[in-house]
Symmetry: C2
Subunit: 124 residues, 2 copies
C-alpha cells in the first residue's frame, strides 16, 4: 500500500467519521437527549447482555480516556440511565449498571442510530 493510498484511507476515515458523528449528534441529541458517547456506552452495555462494566472497560470500548468516561457515566447517572455500584471484590472499583429507563432510552434511540449508520455505510 503506497503513501497515497494510505492518505486516501485516512481521509476516508476522517470523512465518514465526521459525517456520521455530526448526523448522530443531531439525531440522538435532538430527539432522545443523548450524546454520542452516552449512546455508545449504553449500546455496549446492552450488546453485552447488560452485564456490569467497570469504568475502565467502558473507556477502552468506546475509545475515551478514563476521565472522560467517568464524566459520561456521571451524566448518564444524573439522567437516571445507569447506576454506579461499588464492587464487592475491590472497593476501589465501580460497576456501571444500566437501568430500565436506560434500556428504554437506548431501545428508543436505536433505530435512529442504525438509520444514520446505514445511510453512511450502506448507501442504498
Amino acid at each position: 500500500m503506497n503513501d497515497e493510498a494510505v492518505v486516501a484511507a485516512w481521509h476516508d476515515v476522517l470523512a465518514k467519521h465526521a459525517k456520521t458523528l455530526c448526523a448522530l449528534e443531531r439525531e440522538l441529541g435532538d430527539k432522545y437527549d443523548l450524546g454520542v458517547s452516552e449512546f455508545e456506552v449504553l449500546d455496549r452495555i446492552v450488546s453485552n447482555e447488560c452485564r456490569k462494566f467497570r469504568v475502565q472497560e467502558l473507556a477502552d470500548e468506546v475509545h475515551l480516556s478514563q476521565s472522560a468516561l467517568s464524566r459520561v457515566v456521571a451524566r448518564l447517572e444524573k439522567g437516571g440511565l445507569v447506576t454506579r455500584g461499588v464492587c464487592d471484590m475491590d472497593r476501589r472499583g465501580v460497576f456501571v449498571c444500566i437501568t430500565d429507563e436506560g434500556r428504554a432510552r437506548h431501545a428508543a434511540a436505536l433505530p435512529a442510530h442504525r438509520a444514520v449508520l446505514s445511510a453512511v455505510f450502506a448507501p442504498a
Copy 2:
C-alpha cells in the same frame, strides 16, 4: 449490508480514527508543535500546489466548522506558518497563504505523519 455489518464498519472507523488521531497528536504535538487540525490544514494547502484557500474551503476540506477553522488559522498565523490576506475581489473574504516557515514545518512533520498512517492503514 445488514445491521450488524454496518455497526461493525462504524466501530472500525471509530477505532481507526481514535488510534490514528491519538498517535498523530503525540507525534506532531511533541516533536513539531503542531496540532492535528493545524497539520491537516497545512497539508491541504501544500497538496494543492500551495494555492490560496478561503477559510470556508479549508473548513470543508478538513471537516471543521467555520468557526473552528477560523481559530486554527489564527493559531497557524500566530506561529508564523500562514498569513491571512484580504481578498481583492471580495473584501469580506480571507485568503490563507502558507509561508516558507509553514512549508518547512509541514515538510519536517510529513514523514512522521505518513509513518503513523502507514502503521494503522498499511500494517506491514
